[in-house]
């Protein structure tokens, strides 16, 4: 029986050798239950040890392996070869990020944005751990839980044209995480975090393209987080005009 074949076209860019990126095609033995990451691993082990990409958990939770697959940002570990026509699949680095090598992109910009939104619980006064946990109802948990599910895979940034046009935009994942803390009943840092997200290049750049929420592999809805954050911003601004003396 002849072995079925899938064709993988991968962007190659090795800054020490190449001045321009180019596509390289590899033929990979096809199995129905194979994901794109399996194909890349096959290439690296058997065909070309120099192919460069990131991966680790291969179960959709570490967030390392994002790429543009046939033009759409996806996790390579969660994209099955059988989902693609003709078994010919184009794999490119995620859009909007500088490319370090082949499929590996530079995500330092996000790491800076993450620090900027202060992604930790801010309390006016910390309680002692000896006093036990902060009580939180399931309802309160539900208000922020989905936003805490962000795996920082950067697919939403790759999908966001606004970020592509203006990298100063805080962007989907960072806002979703900021909103996660804003909505956490244990957090008391609104006054510190609002000014950060309500800068002009915080949430206001977003024009509701909505693609971030479409590509998110974990069901997080960054668009929702951004819209709600905008509503909070508008309400605060109006309140501060109506009640200039600390009516917040």
């Amino acid at each position: 029986m002849s072995q079925e074949i899938a064709t993988i076209r991968v962007t190659r860019y090795r800054p020490e050798k190449d001045s321009q990126p180019f596509f390289q095609e590899y033929k990979v033995p096809y199995r129905h239950d194979m994901v794109v990451l399996d194909a890349l691993n096959y290439i690296k082990a058997e065909l070309d040890g120099s192919l460069t990409y990131r991966w680790s958990c291969r179960m959709g939770v570490c967030g390392s392996c994002g790429a543009n697959i046939d033009g759409e940002p996806k996790l390579t570990c969660a994209s099955f070869l059988h989902e693609f026509k003709d078994r010919t699949i184009t794999v490119e680095p995620m859009s909007h990020f500088p490319v370090i090598k082949d499929l590996v992109v530079d995500m330092e910009d996000f790491m800076e944005k993450l620090v900027k939104i202060k992604p930790w619980i801010i309390r006016k006064k910390d309680s002692l751990v000896e006093e036990g946990e902060y009580r939180q109802s399931s309802k309160e948990l539900d208000r922020y839980q989905q936003f805490s599910s962000c795996i920082n895979c950067m697919l939403c940034y790759a999908a966001c044209p606004i970020y592509g046009l203006n990298e100063k935009f805080l962007g989907p994942a960072a806002t979703a995480l900021a909103y996660r803390y804003i909505e956490d009943s244990r957090d008391q840092g609104k006054d510190i975090r609002f000014p950060i997200v309500h800068e002009i290049e915080g949430v206001w750049e977003c024009t509701l393209v909505g693609e971030c929420s479409v590509v998110c592999p974990k069901g997080v809805d960054p668009m929702l987080a951004i819209q709600r954050t905008k509503i909070l911003g508008a309400t605060n601004a109006i309140k501060s005009i109506l009640m200039p003396r600390g009516g917040r």
């Binding site: 800054p15 033009g71 490319v99 046009l165």
Partner: protein, 131 residues
């Protein structure tokens, strides 16, 4: 830490035609451009009122009967409806209502809002004309 950039940065920039790359982006851009018709209709209506203010009520009414104005307005109506539908859909996506264990889907919000639109439209007509 890695400040030392030895190599030129490779980064694909978006071109003005980026929104042709996929269907979602294209739909988004159409939605954005429909806003031009919303704005133009408003400006044209204000212009019509100015004919009345500087001339007579008949000038205004004739202006409304001008085929070009009607034609444009009909196009604007189509786009406004498109705007309304996408807006309703987004409303459902941004503020889903929780009923029991499940949340409303955006398309359910769309349908509910369309029904609401019919009611609001009738109320408006009643308020300004029929009453």
């Amino acid at each position: 830490m890695a400040e030392n950039k030895h190599y030129p940065e490779l980064r694909k920039r978006l071109t003005p035609g980026w929104w042709t790359a996929n269907r979602h982006y294209a739909m988004y851009m159409v939605r954005e451009w429909t806003s031009l018709f919303v704005a133009l209709y408003s400006l044209i209506f204000i212009y019509g009122l100015s004919l009345w203010a500087t001339g007579s009520r008949a000038d205004f009414l004739n202006f409304l009967k001008n085929p070009a104005v009607i034609g444009f307005s009909l196009v604007a109506l189509v786009f406004t409806m498109y705007h309304a539908a996408t807006w309703f859909y987004l409303l459902g996506a941004v503020a889903p209502v929780k009923i029991g264990r499940s949340k409303t889907k955006p398309w359910q919000a769309l349908i509910l809002n369309l029904i609401l639109l019919v009611i609001v439209s009738y109320l408006a007509i009643w308020l300004v004309v029929l009453r």
